[in-house]
Symmetry: C2
Amino acid sequence: MANHRMLSAKPLPRDIDALPQPYLLFLGDVTEPAYAKTAFGLRDWARERCIGEFACEAATVTTGLPFLTPIQAHAQGARTLVIGVANSGGVIPPQWIAALIQAMDAGLDVVSGMHARLEDIPVLRAAALRLGRRLIDIRRPPSGIAIASGRRRSGKRLLTVGTDCALGKKYTALALARAFVARGVDADFRATGQTGILIAGGGIPMDAVVSDFAAGAAEMLSPDAADGHWDVIEGQGSLFHPAYAGVSLALLHGSQPDVVVVCHQPGRERVLGHPDYLLPSIEETIELAVRLGRRTQPAIRCGGVSLNTSHLEERDALRLLAAESERLGCAVADPLRDGAAFERLVTDCLA
Amino acid sequence: MANHRMLSAKPLPRDIDALPQPYLLFLGDVTEPAYAKTAFGLRDWARERCIGEFACEAATVTTGLPFLTPIQAHAQGARTLVIGVANSGGVIPPQWIAALIQAMDAGLDVVSGMHARLEDIPVLRAAALRLGRRLIDIRRPPSGIAIASGRRRSGKRLLTVGTDCALGKKYTALALARAFVARGVDADFRATGQTGILIAGGGIPMDAVVSDFAAGAAEMLSPDAADGHWDVIEGQGSLFHPAYAGVSLALLHGSQPDVVVVCHQPGRERVLGHPDYLLPSIEETIELAVRLGRRTQPAIRCGGVSLNTSHLEERDALRLLAAESERLGCAVADPLRDGAAFERLVTDCLA
């Protein structure tokens, strides 16, 4: 897999190639796997940079990588503790502090993609100063973002949109970008969240941009490009999400996607963390994304559907993908299961 | 008009009653009246606090208030120069700097609602320090905004939504809040932009909130209230705006309005500042606001339409309002023209 190939030819504002590597992944005290998506994303898409995992005693989630204390990890070459958890609100809870200081004591820098800034926590700041460690916040948008112009840009764009958060928009975009490149198509993965930025080495943390500039940030993220070039953009949130729909709409408008791929997790019926809210259907999500996206990209179309079937047996998953494809009348694939369904999705997106 | 009555009984995070008054309104070098809406808003809704206006030579827009140099204004009692212009992007252009320093030289503090912070411009900062003046940025959101919960709140809410920016959403909300109070209904105007905040003495600058928290800010702005209480919330942007639709959607979701009133300026055909974009129709705007708003407030309905007919003769305006009411099948009024049409709009909103 040509990870390097997926970096933008035209450098984007953020460049974190200089982050000290390899990483020790920190899982905090997390008990809900969906909140550990940064750790899972790094394990799956940047495995070569991850030495192991570390967590508070209360944590029940694991990446499957070896559990190492910061001292053990440092002895094996780790240089940075990466906070691999993205809880709602992006705060750093008090019960993590001891573990973060333990990591710095062991010789590791700390990288965070949370909203809360490491530098703003006095005890962490003091420990970093005392020990000569770096506190690195990657969820800081670049400066110089302009208000969106709405001007159409050259090149092609694909955006993943979801029925909810945390169900496969980033994985789908990464897999599609890889598959495009494998077919000889000039393509870049464009990261919009902390995990994607850590994986890709660049991008803009969309949800940290001041709301007036959110669509402008999306325009900046996928600039004018050659006619045959594709930007494959990581979606955020959902147009139906009671907290994040505004971010999703700004990203849709600013991205001006030629193609959207709708991402869903079969069986998820309620919005993660908002159990009073039912998930929209796949059809509603396609219809609303195309309708709203048409405002800035009249040629927008749905290239197909991506289902996260990680909780199903292979046979059941393949049966479901085929049935959903039949029912919806479009390509339906799980990008993490190779095969004909995914190849059809790639073909339909590029069509 | 009981301005004080419209302040929230439950104090909101920002309180700018302590702003030094009265004001001298600064028009910069503006030649497009729509960009001077802060100055016009203060003239129309807080006239008693405005001594006069001041501008660069290139300006062609006027509020009709007496033109005063900062020295003249200070001699007449002015204490603050209020930047009355809201250009796209919220930047303070270099050609304003001399005028702002002139004001500080004359003894005035400077208040800004722009995105750019006065404090961040070294030459202004230095002048303020040297002269002992204050640089006050009101476009700074309160701290402690949470991610939106989507939980339904008690009390009633009305949100003005627009076909575009700068065509009457704030005026409509102010007029409706006044009219509600005049009918003995317990109501508060809730400001979401810099002008509204200057007028009301409180509010949250929605477009300056980090996008992940925008819907949460809207929830904070109209907290739980008594059953018969109405929050009348100033809308922002438009769900069809290529740059600001995300802000509008976050405000719609977080406000959970029982009633929306759609605001439009007859004759405006293209998005202000984005001439490639046609304005949506009133019907499309009603339909989309109700459809998207239903996600967090299933009982949402359109209470009627507000038309900004300031460019029409009275007779033509009244004829248009009647015709549009007939065509759309709902109350259509210009809140700045008293009369039966506006009374019907108020009645239908409260129904």
